[in-house]
Point group: C2
Chain length 378, copies 2
Amino acid sequence: MTKHYLLTPGPVPVPPEIALKEALPVFHHRTGEFAAVYRDIAKGLKYIFQTENEVYALASSGTGAMEATVANLLSPGDRIIVASCGIFGCRWIEIAQEYGMEVVSVSVEWGKAVKPAEIEKALRENPDVKAVYTTFVETSTGVANDIKTIGEIVSKTNAVLVVDAISGLVGQEFRADEWKVDATVSASQKGFMLAPGLAFIMLSGKAWKLVENSKLPKFYFDVRKYKKFYALSETPFTPPITLIVALQESIRLIREKGLENIWNECGLLAKAARSGMKALGLELFGEVPCEVVTSALVPVEIGVEIVETLREKYGVSIAGGQGDLKGKIIRFAHMGYIGKADLLVGFTCLEMVLIELGMKIEKGKAAAAVEKVLLKAM
Amino acid sequence: MTKHYLLTPGPVPVPPEIALKEALPVFHHRTGEFAAVYRDIAKGLKYIFQTENEVYALASSGTGAMEATVANLLSPGDRIIVASCGIFGCRWIEIAQEYGMEVVSVSVEWGKAVKPAEIEKALRENPDVKAVYTTFVETSTGVANDIKTIGEIVSKTNAVLVVDAISGLVGQEFRADEWKVDATVSASQKGFMLAPGLAFIMLSGKAWKLVENSKLPKFYFDVRKYKKFYALSETPFTPPITLIVALQESIRLIREKGLENIWNECGLLAKAARSGMKALGLELFGEVPCEVVTSALVPVEIGVEIVETLREKYGVSIAGGQGDLKGKIIRFAHMGYIGKADLLVGFTCLEMVLIELGMKIEKGKAAAAVEKVLLKAM
């Protein structure tokens, strides 16, 4: 009977309108009924990615779509640049090395944002690189990278720009075409407000040229298969039908509210969350904080305990740090179906936990700080 | 308001008890709550595969798990035997060739069952083969292969036996360990009675020896990652949480009924379905008919129309033929949440459609034939 509040940066809560769609009877995927749904989501995905390119839905976690951009765009021994600033940026390096790529790393310390000027320099010094891989919102640190500027730089070269927009898409302004992004991947359990299990991949014309020459083995993630079936409003393999039907509802809700309004709301929640963290005496983490999750440094002695106590005593799930940041930071999500009231639930309970764990905080301070930001915008 | 009856060999209908689980709120996957669910399904999957080996759940269609057995067990240039008898058997060849394997094909004509003696001969003539890939139930034709005999043969060699049990598992007797199967893959949308989106992979100790020496690139499907996280009751990547929770319920229902009882019931339904087809004047297709789907030859002039009319006029979905069998056969599933009454719905409506399309059939004949078999067993 514990009431749960999911405030982690993926999965995020699924609105009941969407959740109920997941419980609808399944139907066969080689039918006009499925094709109609697929056509509708194909259109919606273009809107959400802000692109004229085709976007394919894959039955997979986001990592599968990341791997697809390596396996489909490159050939053994190709050189690529990876601009990473956290765990998910490093994942690009791991995948690329597994496939035998030569990686030019322009990575920065976790907590910093990647430096467009460093990418520009690396591209000048390595004119043969096929692609630049980077991350839009680095979930592990809460940092957003300047994809627009990076897109400007990469578009002047022969390289393609591949962006992991798994966490940032929908919640924070992202414009694939205008920003000259050639490949974008995302997943269902963040801004889309869906259960995990669906991933997305978008490829530009420039990226498709690389696909044609790619010599890495792939089958399930072969984008040429998805393209071929896309033309028929189908998928090459049995799709996760309930998630696809739920995606149609998710897209409907996103369209109804409008991307700009969602971006603005996440921005407001981010501002309020940052203010809440400061009121709790916690230092914000991340050079360029993103708008879908807020990270703050916590005393290492209680870092892990904060997250566990919040979940056990109050049913509130936030995330701790991952990898080298374990126990050092907490991460509080505010995207998708997380609203103003959830923010207050999270911050008031967090305040109680910090007090219980020995921090000297005046009761009500976090709420006051969050309320102040929210009220100013009402 | 059309009432739908899903009688296709995947997806199959999802019982409401399971469907509602898919609509439950998502929760975070790096928690004790998820670990408890994962431990429970880990135990249940061993029961369902009839194995002591670990079984991993992947966010993917079944084909992803098939690819995983190639990418994880083999190295470039390895020789393998593929014993195929339909579209899904041929998929093994396609995947293997994509990864640069040398394929010794002991394929048979679609509609026939693979010949264990041919596999034995091929193994003798090619003592260097690393693995034999085959299919348990070939969904595209409705044929079941004799995995027990094949397992006996392969186990005497250095090769491992890899079996696609996507369609047959749960519905038809399958015993991974007793039959000496080294790698089995399956998926959620057949006997498990779940929505599509989850795949499974089981590996024996003999198969793990190959994994250690495999030199093909893989990341998302790297079984070593799944093994490592399995020990923590976690998955390496965000799991499709709603499907995992639904799987727990599916396993509970399967355990409650008991595998042997499910196998017997599918066997009975298969017998009734074969009798129904014959009563309609249709010749059964498939040398060794399986127990989860029944295929029959239909007049090619109306082959496609039968399936479409059934769906449009009566809301009944069965499958037609795929590939070279398009328009030539129909396939009627009877596994999972498809019961005796559904069989009667399907056959009576099929009879009406065949009559409408010009076949001379005495009304009620199909029902009589199906009822006769069912009543005898009551």
